[in-house]
């Protein structure tokens, strides 16, 4: 089953075209890595999929589980099972992580016609999810991302992923700013969350993450287009040869 079908996607921010015809197909259960140099449009693609209002889609289509994704508001996409792990998670003072997550879980449950969880039920659910990825609840009673270290912020994104149980998770440079131990911790949790019903689009600048989260497909994005696609060995090739090796012109031909 096709989870995500992107065709000829063009998107701009403040009048500058960043995505210039991206096409990509992700099936259920697959992990796709999007690699590329700085400024190639990787994060823009991630933000457009989540529905960031600052980006205008000027052309193309995105179908998610057969539905028109671009027609949905950001919250609808999340309720339908799409999740974006932010490159720069936002700090929200005065709101605890557990309150925030319960609000999110209940918004999604309401959409699914399920009864909302009260704080005690939610604690139980949370404990189960944390156990599944082998983490403790030390982040839960702190204000959302407020005063978190870089590693804690990224862990917090994956923790949300674990609790919200999306069917399509987009990880936007989840590895950036992580030391090797933190990277392993995050990658291990992601691997535990992989499954036949859940797809991942992993945006990264570095091949290293893909040693731990092994992708089914690797795509290279340059100047707003996918210029090369291949298996996991493509990442190793990129690591050896650098991004200069893949030229945008190659895709035009």
């Amino acid at each position: 089953m096709t989870m995500l079908e992107i065709q000829d996607l063009h998107a701009s921010v403040e009048g500058n075209e960043i995505l210039r015809g991206v096409s990509l197909s992700v099936r259920a259960g697959e992990v796709h890595a999007i690699m590329g140099p700085n400024g190639s449009g990787k994060s823009t693609l991630a933000q457009v999929l989540a529905g960031h209002p600052a980006y205008q889609v000027t052309k193309g289509t995105v179908r998610y589980e057969g539905k028109d994704l671009l027609d949905m508001d950001p919250e609808e996409r999340a309720r339908e099972g799409l999740f974006l792990a932010f490159q720069y998670p936002v700090a929200i003072r005065g709101i605890t992580n557990s309150y925030f997550l319960r609000s999110a879980v209940n918004a999604i449950r309401k959409h699914q016609g399920l009864p909302e969880l009260d704080p005690l039920d939610f604690l139980q659910v949370l404990e189960d999810k944390l156990k599944a990825i082998g983490w403790d609840d030390s982040l839960m009673n702190r204000a959302v991302n407020e005063g978190f270290s870089g590693g804690e912020k990224k862990r917090n994104e994956i923790l949300q992923l674990a609790v919200l149980e999306p069917r399509l998770a987009v990880l936007d440079e989840t590895d950036s700013g992580l030391d090797i131990d933190a990277l392993k911790t995050v990658a291990e949790a992601v691997n535990k969350l992989r499954g036949p019903e859940r797809s991942f689009v992993v945006v990264t600048h570095y091949q290293r993450l893909l040693n731990y989260i092994v992708p089914d497909r690797v795509h290279v994005l340059a100047e707003g287009r996918i210029v090369r696609s291949g298996g996991k060995e493509l990442a190793l090739e990129l690591e050896a040869k650098g991004y200069d090796w893949v030229k945008p012109e190659a895709a035009v031909a």
Partner: protein, 444 residues
């Protein structure tokens, strides 16, 4: 109405008060009142031509004819009517400015401590009251404070002798039942913590029946050396009411004061907070929260005066303004010559929820010592779009997301209120206004 005739009207009211309602006052108090009405006659009401009042016009107050509030002893509020405004603990309740013994309870007060009516204290322990009343700071810096002093009769009196400690919060509740009138009350409160005493005091100003009225309150809060006090001041007046407040705090050596002022009500309110750290090593946390909508207007003028070395003050004022509401913040910090090693931080953040709401923020630092650390910062603006998107990307709808972010902004102040009953109560009110559900596990 001319300024002169406005002043004349208040002086006439004072003459009537001095002749009838204020009988039984000791000579020194009558002198204090006479001096204060003289001062009012000189000052009159402030005008927007004065820098300090540039953003806040009190013209509607000057133009209104207020009548002295009546006691209404025949028609007192029931406990259930008062319940939304009460916290558990000893309390003194005032209705239309008069102490109501039957609604008050001093259970839990230790021997030698006092919670009750200033007027009663004036009769039973005049020397104690005289030693402190209107002593610590100029209570006549502006016309309203002068008027309050001229009309001193009743109000709250809290006294903690040296080393007395009370765990439960003490509450002073000032309720107004306007009836069909347009009443004015001038509650005057004196709170004294002698050396090393410790406790919590809550002042609440609220309306029971809506209506238009003027509350012109002055509170003096005195901390002796080493005293530790938590203070909260909650203003929940009618949205048609005028509320003018002057809080003067005076701190001795190594004393510690955490004071939070919350403005939720009144159509027009002005809160003066004047804090003097007059002992080495005094600590002050002065916080404020305003949550307004409609056409409400709030003006906070705070002044923190570091008069001695090694003082520490932190000030956080957050304002949430919706509709056509308006907030003004002026924060003055003075570091006197010789007040070395002062550490002072001021932050004023304002959240505008509509395009027609407005907030003005003015820090004012006057530093006359050279070895000090003073910082200030202020912001005025709408909700952060990136934060809004972050919440929406988790499935939370835009209205709920806005409510959550706004609540989080208010909670930064509420979380620092160290009196649990007050924090929980305010939390519920603010959640209610912003449509944010309860977070704690329910009792069931």
């Amino acid at each position: 109405m001319t300024a002169a005739s406005v002043i004349e009207r208040w002086i006439a009211q004072f003459r009537e008060f001095a002749a009838n309602g204020a009988s039984g006052a000791p000579a020194w108090l009558r002198e204090l009142r006479d001096g204060a009405i003289g001062r009012f006659a000189e000052l009159g009401f402030p005008s927007t031509r004065q820098e300090e009042w540039r953003f806040t016009s009190i013209q509607p107050i000057a133009e209104s004819a207020f009548t002295p509030a009546q006691s209404h002893t025949s028609h007192l509020p029931s406990l259930s009517e008062m319940a939304p405004f009460l916290v558990t603990g000893p309390r003194a309740v005032f209705v239309n400015g008069r102490f109501i013994e039957s609604l008050s309870t001093a259970d839990g007060m230790p021997a030698g401590a006092w919670l009750g009516s200033l007027w009663q204290a004036l009769q039973s322990q005049p020397d104690l009251v005289r030693a402190h009343l209107a002593r610590y700071a100029r209570a006549d810096a502006h016309g309203f404070a002068a008027l309050n002093t001229a009309f001193i009769k009743d109000g709250g009196f809290v006294y903690f002798p040296a080393r007395a400690v009370v765990a439960e919060p003490l509450q002073l509740v000032f309720l107004t039942m306007a009836g069909g009138d347009q009443p004015v009350s001038h509650p005057r409160t004196l709170i004294v913590f002698e050396r090393e005493a410790a406790g919590q005091v809550v002042e609440t100003y609220a309306s029971l029946d809506g209506g238009t009225y003027l509350t012109n309150a002055v509170t003096e809060l005195v901390l002796g050396d080493g005293a530790q006090v938590h203070h909260a001041r909650i203003q929940r007046e009618s949205e048609r009411a005028y509320h003018i407040a002057t809080n003067l705090t005076h701190q001795g050596r190594d004393s510690r004061l955490v004071s939070t002022t919350v403005a939720l009500g009144a159509g027009l309110s002005r809160h003066h907070v004047s804090a003097v750290l007059d002992g080495t090593g005094a600590f002050l946390l002065l916080n404020g929260l305003s949550v307004l909508g409609g056409r409400q207007h709030v003006d906070h003028h705070t002044s923190i005066d570091h008069a001695r070395p090694h003082g520490e003050s932190h000030e956080f004022f957050n304002g949430v303004f919706d509709g056509d509401s308006r907030g003004v913040f002026n924060g003055r910090i003075i570091v006197r010559p010789g007040a070395q090693r002062t550490d002072s931080k001021q932050t004023n953040n304002n959240l505008l929820l509509s395009t027609t709401a407005r907030a003005d923020s003015q820090p004012q630092l006057e530093i006359y010592a050279d070895d000090v650390k003073c910082t200030h910062g202020s912001t005025v603006g709408p909700l952060d779009e990136t934060a809004l998107f972050y919440l929406r990307s988790r499935g939370i709808g835009p209205d709920e997301a806005r409510g959550l972010l706004t609540y989080g902004f208010a909670a930064q102040i509420l979380d620092q209120v160290e009196i649990p009953g007050v924090r929980v109560g305010l939390d519920r009110i603010v959640r209610g206004r912003l449509g944010v559900a309860e977070s704690r596990p329910s009792a069931a």
